[in-house]
């Protein structure tokens, strides 16, 4: 098993297409997207209508790409959008895939 990073981004669904582009540009080879809801400093995001939906994006990548994604999100989106990004260690087979 090989150690790589899992980057998880939880944010507003309005950013979906923009983030997908960003991730590709920053070197991510793929991602998984999940509809999400929850509550935080920007209030309840209950996904009951389309302006109020959250998404969770998961990216498995190497450490360099992971920190590039983190920096980019912080610079570009943290001030104006509801967003949480965190990085965890994961183990995978086929490290060349990521």
């Amino acid at each position: 098993m090989n150690k790589v990073k899992l980057v998880t981004i939880i944010t507003e669904s309005v950013l979906e297409s923009r983030l997908a582009e960003d991730l590709g540009r920053l070197g991510a080879r793929g991602y998984t997207l999940i509809d999400a809801r929850g509550s935080g400093s920007r209030g309840m995001r209950s996904a009951d209508w389309d302006q109020n939906q959250n998404i969770q994006i998961e990216v498995i990548c190497n450490e360099n790409v992971a920190s590039a994604i983190l920096d980019h999100c912080q610079k570009e989106y943290y001030s104006n959008f509801a967003m949480v990004v965190y990085i965890t260690d994961v183990k995978v087979l086929r490290p060349e895939k990521f």
């Binding site: 309005v14 923009r18 920007r42 209030g43 009951d48 209508w49 389309d50 109020n52 104006n80």
Partner: protein, 315 residues
């Protein structure tokens, strides 16, 4: 007023609103809002297109210019009010102003039901006015925000596609085109789904909208008293402007009521999506609460009868 309340669509809305306020265990499936809003926008467009197919297009030019004028003027009136009296930041004021200049398609559907029930005739091309009113105000709002030094520069290509090919405009135009091309006979095969079922679907949608609006009401404490009064005062002001313009361009009583309602309504589909991208430093809680939590319920229950009264008075 009471007579206006006794309609299935309005009652369903109030039931949804009440369910949210008392925190009833009522939660419609997440995708229902999306499915129903797609249906409603297509159906509204289709109905307008069919009516348009039998209309002399030349008569539209003057009322259409009136509608665009309203869309441009309302944000310019709303912005200084929000800045001076409301003390909102430039970005917030511009974003809220854009919402009040733009329109709500569901409020439009409800005013048509209101007029149909009373047997009041209105012009066949009102759907065109709906589409025309949706865009200019959003453009003006973005322009004000840009001009007044919003720090964030958006991608313009993304913005254009969001404004012109955003879901609500695209579906309305699609319905309009299909209805226009096929005409009354051509759409016979889908008449049951899009015309006959319309009111029932609208009633379910308004139940959901009542729930959504009640959740916005919970945010009222955070947005302050000014926005509450703005959410009621601004539509009356815009409605009066719509009445004067409607009368001025020669619309009937029904048509004037529709234009006044359009002017008085605030967007909550197209404008929020565009503003989130174009003016991300504006706080969405402010414009969503004002537009959806205050103005939308106000218009459905009290506003439309007022606009009808204004239109009959001026004629």
């Amino acid at each position: 007023m009471i007579e206006n309340l006794l309609d299935p669509t309005i009652l369903f809305f109030l039931i949804g609103l009440f369910a949210g306020i008392v925190r009833a265990e009522l939660r419609l499936p997440e995708s229902i809002y999306e499915i129903l809003s797609i249906y409603l926008l297509l159906a509204i467009g289709l109905k307008g297109g069919v009516q348009l197919s039998t209309t002399d297009l030349g008569v539209i030019i003057v009322p259409a210019s009136g509608a665009i004028l309203i869309g441009l003027i309302i944000p310019l009136i709303a912005y200084p009010i929000l800045r001076r009296l409301g003390k909102f930041s430039k970005a917030d004021a511009a974003a809220i102003a854009a919402h009040y200049g733009s329109v709500s398609a569901v409020t439009y559907a409800v005013v048509l039901i209101f007029l149909d029930k009373r047997g009041v005739r209105y012009e066949d091309y009102t759907t065109v006015l709906l589409v025309l009113l949706e865009i200019p105000a959003i453009a003006v709002g973005i322009f004000i925000a840009r001009l007044r030094a919003s720090k964030v520069a958006p991608s313009y290509s993304r913005l254009l596609s969001e404004v012109f090919f955003g879901r609500s405009i695209y579906l309305l135009l699609a319905g309009l085109l299909v209805g226009f091309v096929l005409g009354p006979q051509g759409i016979d095969s889908v008449r049951i789904v899009f015309f006959d079922l319309f009111k029932g679907v609208l009633a379910i949608f308004l139940l959901e909208m009542g729930l959504v609006a009640s959740h916005r009401l919970n945010e009222l404490r955070r947005v302050g008293a000014f926005l509450f009064f703005f959410g009621i005062g601004m539509p009356i002001l815009s409605g009066a402007l719509g009445t004067i313009v409607g009368w001025g361009v020669g619309l009937s009583v029904g048509g004037t009521t529709v234009l006044a309602t359009l002017a008085g309504s605030a967007s909550y589909i197209a404008a929020p999506a565009a503003m989130r991208i174009a003016v991300p430093d504006a706080n969405p809680t402010l414009y969503l609460t004002a537009s959806l939590g205050i103005t939308f319920p106000f218009n459905l229950v009290v506003g439309i009868p007022i606009y009808y009264w204004m239109a009959t008075t001026i004629h």
